[in-house]
């Protein structure tokens, strides 16, 4: 991943928004001659930018950043991603969390709002935690935090009760998109439930009734390949079956 400081816009790759496959060359740096930022799924090989993952090529005009957006089951940590991890181990200063990434992530004991040496939440292995990625580099273990930049909890923390299920990273991303994802909107009209979506492809749902949890989970999983209109119909059917 190549990054330069100054942001300049140059000619944009003709493949933007196209589907690309590994080995495809999307940009010739010699011709582009400008500052280019590369995100996930791209690699610099000499003067050319080569795709390493199948997906859709995206480009952000603002900072001239390219990345490949695909839908994988396996999560690759990125800074500022909200993820749901499961505690695997507790050490002296930190917890080890499985966030579905190639390696376990670290959650320091003090990375909770208002936590001190004496007063820190005690998490047991198996507990689900909604956290934010603060460090993501391939050479070190990813680091998580249950506080936002202003050291407030803002929703992060241990997830009590409820149900965690896995889905593809692509679905997770679409659940978090704005405007609000049609399936969540439609479900919200009928049920009241709590939801936390981790970009690592894990979703936590909680509600009063177990049946609601089941309905919401199924509705979300079923929505992956449906258009907004289909999602509404699907949700309607789920609701119908509930009654």
């Amino acid at each position: 991943m190549e990054a330069n400081d100054t942001v300049q816009t140059g000619p944009v790759s003709p493949l933007v928004l196209q589907i690309v496959a590994p080995g495809d060359i999307v940009l010739d740096l010699a011709k582009a001659g400008k500052v280019v930022r590369l995100g996930g799924g791209l690699r610099q090989d000499g003067d050319s930018v080569v795709v390493t993952r199948a997906g859709r090529l995206r480009h952000m005009q603002a900072n001239n950043k390219y990345w490949v957006e695909g839908s994988q089951k396996r999560y690759v940590p990125n800074v500022e991603d909200g993820v749901i991890g499961v505690v695997v181990d507790r050490r002296f200063e930190s917890y080890s969390l499985d966030i579905g990434a190639p390696t376990y992530a670290i959650l320091p004991i003090l990375a909770f709002e208002g936590a001190t040496r004496r007063n820190a939440p005690n998490l047991q292995p198996g507990a689900a935690v909604y956290a934010r990625v603060v460090k993501a580099h391939r050479d070190v273990q990813p680091e998580l935090s249950c506080m936002d930049v202003s050291n407030k909890s803002s929703g992060f923390g241990s997830l009590k009760n409820g149900y965690v299920f896995e889905c593809s990273t692509g679905l997770a991303r679409s659940l978090l998109s704005k405007p609000m994802c049609p399936v969540l909107e439609a479900l919200g009209k009928r049920f009241s439930y709590e939801i936390a979506v981790g970009l690592n492809g894990r979703v936590w749902v909680n509600a009063q009734e177990p049946s609601t949890i089941v309905a919401v989970s199924n509705g979300i999983l079923a929505s992956e390949f449906l258009t907004p209109a289909q999602q509404h119909i699907m949700v309607a059917k789920v609701i119908e079956r509930m009654q």
Binding site: A21, G23, A54, R56, Q72, K73
Partner: protein
């Protein structure tokens, strides 16, 4: 035995330079991170990929690159006579190694240090060219898992029977006693990553057969690419964006 009739047709009706029918399906195993089946005629292989994930045994962890493991096996129903085939026999071990090395060359292992990638390949139906078919299936499964790769790997076999180079041998032709050469290559980089043959042939014939196998592999690569794009497109478009 005549493998090519004087009319220029092979036993199954192909011409010497033709591939068998290719078919592929991506994402066939729900649970896995990546999976695919690949068919070359009657040869059918399923490949399943798990990872990158935490290395299972610490001692094998590599701090600068991912650990790639591969296991090849043959279903007991894959050939005409049904028999149990272990995955520890000589042939399976050799094939596991070959597939692992070929795929390792394609994966950008340095991007995934301290992690492990498992590739499981199983032959569901064997009709010649299993080696090539396994590599093709593994490529698709890896791509499905979103593991960063230099390029697609595509593979194809070619042989030399009745003094004619022929592409993509089926079982009958494979057992015809001629050389059987398997090539795997990176089509975009135009680099060979695997070249296997275990018989003696003259150099000039070898070149012909090698070129033919490479051409075949490129055609297979084109097919794999199309399949992959189609699959990705489906996934992306289905989200209604």
């Amino acid at each position: 035995m005549d493998f090519i009739s004087p009319e220029g047709l092979r036993l199954d009706g192909r011409r010497p330079l033709e591939l068998r029918q290719l078919q592929a399906e991506i994402g066939v195993v729900e649970k896995a991170d990546g999976s695919a089946t690949f068919e070359m005629g009657n040869t059918k292989v399923i490949a399943v990929v798990y990872g990158p994930r935490e290395v299972q045994s610490r001692s094998q962890q590599q701090h600068d690159q991912a650990l790639v493991r591969c296991e090849y096996s043959m279903a007991s129903f894959s050939t005409g006579d049904r028999r149990r085939r272990g995955k520890g026999d000589r042939r399976a071990t050799e094939l596991s190694l070959v597939i692992r090395q070929t795929m390792e060359a394609a994966i950008l292992t340095n991007l995934l240090p301290r992690s492990q990638i498992d590739i499981f390949v199983q032959v569901l139906q064997a009709d010649g060219g299993t080696r090539a078919c396994c590599i093709n299936a593994a490529t698709l499964a890896l791509a499905d898992a979103g593991i960063p790769m230099r390029d697609i790997v595509a593979s194809c076999a070619a042989g030399y029977l009745n003094s004619t180079p022929i592409l993509d041998l089926n079982y009958l032709e494979d057992s015809g006693g001629g050389p059987d050469l398997t090539v795997a290559l990176f089509p975009k980089l135009d680099k060979v990553s695997l070249l296997q043959m275990d018989s003696k042939i003259p150099l000039d014939v070898f070149e012909k057969v090698m070129n033919l196998a490479s051409e075949g592999a490129k055609a297979v690569a084109q097919f794999i690419r199309e399949k992959l794009m189609e699959n990705t497109k489906q996934l992306v478009l289905a989200k209604g964006r």
